[in-house]
C-alpha cells in the first residue's frame, strides 16, 4: 500500500504554489490519488507558507504529519518544519543558508523563534540552520542539501538565459529532489511542468532543466527511489481546489447569476467562475436547447449587503442565483436573509468559513460559523443549511443547494471552509446522470387571472412566476396572498402557517440519507460525530485505528437544517461512547446536537489553530478518550 506525504515550505509568493501544483500533477499522472492542503499567512509576499500533499493508492483525503519528505528552501522553513519529517524521511534544504541564525529571520513569529531555540538548545545545539540540520540528523532524517545558488546558475547556463523567475527554478529543484527520492520518474515531472505552464515555452525549458539537475543530484547522493505506478494510471482526471469545484457545481447546476464582494477564502470561487463565464453546452444537448454557449453573470458588488440583495433581486426575476462570502460578509447579509425568507426568494449563500472572531486569522480554517449560519436572520427567519465534507460533496451540494432553494423557495446556506477552499484534490469524472436540476414550481407563463405570489397551498409553496412575467407584489412586510402589506391577525396566522407548512415540506422533501452519512458499524468502540472537512481526517484515522484493533464509527452531518434527528438520536442510544469533533471554541456542533436531540456529547475533540485537521490528531485524541476517558481533547498539529 502506498501512503506518502510531502511538505513544501517557503516564503509566500516564492514559488510554493507552482511547485505544489506541479508536484500534485506529477503524482496524479503517476496514477495516485492526491490531497494537498495549502497553509498560508494573511500576507501578500514574504511570510511563511507551505503545501502539505498526501499521496495514496486508495483515497487521499487528509493531511498527516510527520511526512515522508520535506522541501525547505529557505531558512525559516527549515526551522519551522524540523519536527515534521518522519524518521528515515528526506529533508531537502539549501546549503547556502547554513549559517543563518533564527533571530535573523525577520518574518518569523517571535514565539516560534523562541520555541525553536529552546528545542535546539535542549539538544545542546546552537541556533543556526546548520544546528537544525544536526538536530534533523539526530532524529534519523536523511538530509539532502542542495546548493541553490549553484543550481540556479546551472539552470541559467544550461537554458542559455537569465532565469528571471528565480523562485520557480528554486522550487522546482527542491520539489524534484523530493520526488526523485520518493521514486516518481523524471518524465512525470517534465510532463507536469508542461501541463502546468501550458503554452509558456519561455518558462517550461528552464524548469525542466531545474528538474534534471535535482534528479542527477539525488541519483548521485542517495540513488533514485522506486515507486510503482498508482492505480489511476491512464484515467482522465481533474486536479481542482474546493473553490474550483463549488464554482463548477454551481455552473453545472445551472447558476446564472453570482454576486460577491472580495473576501478570503471565497473570492477565488467567484474569480474562477468569472474566468469561465461563457461555457459550452454539452454537445448532445446544444441542439435541443438551441444554444452553444451559456453565460454566467459574475458581478463584484460594493459590499456584501449589496451582494445578497442583488442576488435576491436576480432570483425574483427568475435567475438561478447565488452569492459567496465568508463569516464577516455573511454577518452583513443577516437582514437580507430574513427578507429572502419572507419574500420566499430562492437564493444560495456559500459561506467559506475562516478563523474568527472578527478578522481573527483570515487565511486559516475553522467551523466557527455553524450557529451563525443556522440562526442568521432576525424574526423567525428560517433557511436550509447544508455542509460539505470534501470536494465531491461540495460539487454535488452546490447543485443540491440551488435545487432546494428553488424547490422550497427559501434561502439555502452552503457551509464550507478554508481547508476545502485551499486544498487541491484529484477527482474522477462526476456522474452527470445522477444530477437532476429542479426548479420547483417555477413557470414563465401565467394565465390564471390575477397572479398571487404568496398563494396559500397544501405544501406552503406557491406557484412561482418571476417578476416580469406576471404583475405581482413581493414584500418584506407581512402580506396578503397577492403581496399587499397587512397586519390583520388572521392573515398573519395564515401566512405563518403557510411558512410552517413549507418547513414540513422541507422535512419531508429532504430524506435522512441526504442529511447524514454513517461510516462504520454500531458495534464500534467509539462513535465520532462531526461535519465538514473533519470527514477526511476522521475516515483516515478510522483506518489507522482499525489496524490497531480500535473500531470507530463516523456520523457525518450533512444538513443542520433540517437536522438528522433520527440518526443522531440512534447513534447516541446505540454507541458505547460518543465524541464530537468541533473545530471551534464553543463546541457549536455539540450545542446543535443538544438542541435538536437533547443528547449531550460526553467527549469533544477541539482545534482552534486554524490549521487543517490531520489524521494523526484524531488517532491520538480517540486513544486519549478511550484510555483516559478525558472529556475534552484539544489538538493543534501543523505549523
Amino acid at each position: 500500500m502506498v501512503d506518502l506525504a510531502l511538505l513544501i515550505g517557503g516564503p509566500q509568493g516564492g514559488g510554493i504554489e507552482s511547485a505544489g501544483q506541479i508536484g500534485v500533477r506529477a503524482l496524479v499522472m503517476k496514477g495516485y490519488d492526491i490531497f494537498g492542503v495549502r497553509e498560508y499567512h494573511s500576507n501578500i509576499i514574504g511570510a511563511h507558507s507551505y503545501f502539505n500533499i498526501r499521496i495514496r493508492d486508495t483515497v487521499a483525503r487528509s493531511p498527516r504529519l510527520p511526512v515522508d519528505a520535506v522541501v525547505a528552501l529557505d531558512a525559516e522553513s527549515v526551522f519551522t518544519h524540523m519536527d515534521d519529517v518522519r524518521e528515515g524521511g528526506i529533508f531537502v534544504y539549501d546549503t547556502s543558508t547554513l549559517k543563518t541564525r533564527v533571530d535573523r529571520i525577520a518574518p518569523m513569529p517571535g514565539p516560534l523563534k523562541e520555541r525553536v531555540k529552546a528545542k535546539l538548545s535542549q539538544h545542546g545545539l546552537g541556533d543556526t540552520v546548520a544546528d537544525a540540520v544536526k538536530y534533523l540528523e539526530s532524529r534519523g532524517a536523511k538530509l539532502l542539501g542542495i546548493d541553490l545558488k549553484a543550481a540556479i546558475k546551472e539552470v541559467a547556463e544550461k537554458s542559455g538565459r537569465s532565469v528571471v523567475s528565480v523562485a520557480r527554478a528554486a522550487n522546482v529543484v527542491g520539489l524534484s529532489a523530493a520526488l526523485a527520492f520518493l521514486g516518481v520518474e523524471k518524465e512525470y515531472v517534465h510532463r507536469a511542468i508542461e501541463a502546468y505552464f501550458a503554452g509558456k515555452t519561455r518558462v517550461i525549458e528552464p524548469n525542466k532543466i531545474a528538474a534534471d539537475i535535482a534528479y542527477d543530484y539525488v541519483e548521485e547522493s542517495y540513488g533514485l527511489g522506486n515507486l510503482p505506478d498508482g492505480p489511476h494510471k491512464g484515467k482522465v482526471r481533474m486536479v481542482a481546489s474546493g473553490n474550483d469545484v463549488v464554482a463548477m457545481g454551481k455552473v453545472v447546476g445551472g447558476l446564472t447569476v453570482q454576486t460577491y464582494y472580495p473576501i478570503t477564502p471565497a473570492a477565488d470561487e467567484a474569480l474562477y467562475m468569472e474566468g469561465h463565464r461563457l461555457v459550452e453546452v454539452r454537445e448532445e444537448l446544444a441542439e435541443k436547447v438551441g444554444l452553444e454557449k451559456l453565460g454566467v453573470a459574475v458581478i463584484q458588488t460594493e459590499d456584501e449587503i449589496s451582494a445578497i440583495n442583488m442576488a435576491i433581486g436576480a432570483a425574483l426575476a427568475g435567475a438561478r442565483s447565488a452569492t459567496t462570502t465568508s463569516g464577516p460578509g455573511f454577518a452583513l447579509m443577516n437582514e437580507a436573509i430574513s427578507m429572502a425568507y419572507i419574500m420566499e426568494a430562492p437564493v444560495v449563500i456559500t459561506i467559506w468559513q475562516r478563523a474568527g472572531p472578527s478578522t481573527g486569522m483570515a487565511t486559516r480554517t475553522g467551523q466557527q460559523d455553524l450557529l451563525h449560519a443556522m440562526f442568521a436572520g432576525h424574526g423567525d427567519a428560517v433557511k436550509i443549511v447544508v455542509a460539505s465534507g470534501d470536494h465531491e460533496e461540495a460539487f454535488y451540494d452546490a447543485i443540491k443547494a440551488l435545487n432546494w432553494a428553488e424547490k422550497f423557495q427559501i434561502p439555502v446556506v452552503h457551509l464550507v471552509d478554508k481547508t476545502l477552499a485551499a486544498s487541491t484534490k484529484s477527482l474522477d469524472r462526476f456522474d452527470l446522470d445522477s444530477i437532476t436540476i429542479d426548479r420547483g414550481k417555477l413557470s414563465y407563463e401565467w394565465s390564471g387571472g390575477e397572479y398571487l405570489r404568496y398563494k396559500l397551498t397544501e405544501d406552503g409553496i406557491s406557484p412561482r412566476v418571476p417578476v416580469g412575467f406576471a404583475k405581482q407584489l413581493n414584500s418584506s412586510l407581512e402580506h396578503t396572498e397577492y403581496g399587499y402589506a397587512i397586519e390583520d391577525p388572521e392573515v398573519r396566522n395564515a401566512m405563518v402557517e403557510k411558512r410552517l407548512k413549507k418547513l414540513d415540506a422541507i422535512e419531508r422533501g429532504i430524506p435522512e440519507d441526504e442529511r447524514v452519512k454513517v461510516y462504520g458499524s454500531s458495534d464500534a468502540d467509539i462513535t465520532i460525530i462531526s461535519w465538514g472537512t473533519v470527514k477526511g481526517p476522521v475516515l483516515d484515522a478510522m483506518e489507522k485505528l482499525e489496524d490497531e484493533g480500535i473500531k470507530v464509527r463516523y456520523v457525518h452531518i450533512k444538513t443542520f437544517i433540517p437536522f438528522p434527528v433520527r440518526t443522531i438520536d440512534e447513534a447516541f442510544k446505540s454507541a458505547s461512547r460518543v465524541a464530537v469533533v468541533d473545530y471551534n471554541m464553543l463546541a457549536q456542533t455539540s450545542l446543535a446536537i443538544r438542541m435538536f436531540t437533547g443528547h449531550k456529547a460526553p467527549h469533544v475533540i477541539q482545534k482552534f489553530t486554524g490549521r487543517a485537521l490531520q489524521e494523526q490528531e484524531i488517532v491520538r485524541a480517540v486513544k486519549e478518550i478511550l484510555e483516559n476517558n478525558v472529556e475534552r481533547v484539544v489538538v493543534s498539529d501543523g505549523a
Binding site: M29, G230, H276, G295, A297, A311, G318, M339, G468, S476
Partner: protein, 310 residues
C-alpha cells in the same frame, strides 16, 4: 394612449398623511406610466423602507418592497437578470442617501438602466421625524430635540460625481412637470436620478410647501439656453462644470428640471454584453439552465484547465 392613468392605481388604501407630498409623486408616476404605456407586468417599482417606500403597494405594476436602504441592489439584481424590464427605484432620502448611500454611489458607477426617484422630505418620516441626510445643519424641525448638527449633502452633486448619466430635480406638487421628468428619466438609457423635493407637513415644518414655492424655478423656463447634455466625450469637462454650478444653487433660488445628462456612457447591460456576448439575447432570468432536468454543462469539457491525463 392605450391605458388611462387610473388603471395604474391599485386598490390598496394609501396611508400617507393628508398633506403629504408623496401624493404628488404617486400621481405623477401614474401619469408618466400611462403616457409611456408601460406594461404592468414588465414594469417594476422597487422601494426600501420609509413612508415613501410604501409606494409599490399603491401603483398597479409589479412591485418589490425590500428593506431599509437596499432597493438599489435588489433593483440592480432584477435588471441584471432581465435587462428587458423597466425598473424604477422609488424611495426616501434616508433610505437612499443615509443607510443606502454606498449603493446609491455604486449604481452611478455601473450606469445601470434604472430610474431612481428620491422622495426628498429631508426627514425620516416613518421613524417620526429625525433629521434626514438632506436636512441643513442648525435647522430644528418639529420632532428634533436639538438643532441638527450634521450638514446636508447635495444629492445632485453626489449623483453627478457617482456617474449617473441623468440628473434632475423636481417638486412633488407640480405633478405635470414631475411627470415629464419621470418620463424623460425612464426613456434615458442609463442610471437616472430625480431628486423630488417633497414637503412633509407632519415633520418638516421648516421646508414647507410655502417655503419651496417661494424658491423654486424651472431652468427651462428661466434659462432656455442652459444646456448640460453631453453628446460627445469632448464636451464633458465643460458641461459637468456647468451642471455642478447649477447643482450648487440652493437657498433663495432652487433650480428645477434636468440638470445634467450624459449620452456618451454605455449602460451596464451593454458593458456585460461586451464581456459576455449573448447576455442580452439570453439573459440570466430566462436562459436555459437544464434540458428535461439534465445539466447542460459537462465540467470535464468546460473546466479543461483543471483536467489532467494520468
Amino acid at each position: 394612449m392605450a391605458r388611462s392613468w387610473l388603471e395604474y392605481r391599485s386598490p390598496a388604501w394609501v396611508q400617507w398623511c393628508p398633506g403629504c407630498g408623496n401624493y404628488g409623486i404617486l400621481t405623477a408616476a401614474f401619469k408618466a406610466f400611462a403616457e409611456l404605456d408601460l406594461d404592468p407586468a414588465k414594469t417594476v417599482v422597487v422601494s426600501g423602507i420609509g413612508c415613501s417606500s410604501r409606494i409599490p403597494y399603491y401603483i398597479n405594476v409589479t412591485g418589490v418592497h425590500t428593506i431599509h436602504g437596499r432597493p438599489i441592489p435588489v433593483a440592480t439584481g432584477i435588471k441584471l437578470a432581465n435587462p428587458h424590464l423597466t425598473v424604477l427605484v422609488m424611495s426616501g432620502d434616508g433610505d437612499l442617501l443615509g443607510i443606502g448611500a454606498a449603493h446609491f454611489v455604486a449604481l452611478g458607477r455601473r450606469n445601470a438602466d434604472i430610474t431612481v426617484v428620491m422622495h426628498d422630505n429631508a426627514v425620516y418620516g416613518l421613524t417620526k421625524g429625525q433629521a434626514g441626510p438632506t436636512l441643513p445643519a442648525w435647522v430644528q424641525t418639529k420632532a428634533l430635540r436639538a438643532p441638527n448638527i450634521q450638514d446636508a449633502l447635495n444629492p445632485l452633486l453626489l449623483a453627478i460625481a457617482s456617474g449617473y448619466t441623468f440628473v434632475a430635480r423636481a417638486y412633488a406638487y407640480h405633478v405635470d412637470k414631475l411627470k415629464d421628468i419621470i418620463k424623460e428619466a425612464i426613456k434615458h438609457r442609463g442610471a437616472a436620478f430625480i431628486d423630488v423635493l417633497q414637503p412633509c407637513p407632519t415633520y418638516n415644518n421648516v421646508m414647507t410647501q410655502q417655503w419651496y414655492e417661494q424658491r423654486i424655478y424651472y431652468i427651462d423656463e428661466q434659462e432656455p439656453d442652459y444646456d448640460a447634455t453631453i453628446k460627445s466625450p469632448e464636451e464633458r469637462s465643460e458641461k459637468v462644470a456647468r451642471a455642478i454650478a447649477k447643482a450648487m444653487e440652493w437657498g433663495d433660488r432652487i433650480p428645477l428640471g434636468i440638470i445634467y445628462r450624459d449620452l456618451t456612457k454605455e449602460p451596464f447591460d451593454a458593458r456585460i454584453e461586451k464581456i459576455m456576448p449573448g447576455y442580452l439575447e439570453h439573459p440570466p432570468a430566462t436562459r436555459p439552465v437544464h434540458y428535461e432536468g439534465k445539466p447542460l454543462v459537462d465540467p470535464f469539457k468546460v473546466f479543461t484547465d483543471r483536467v489532467v491525463q494520468a
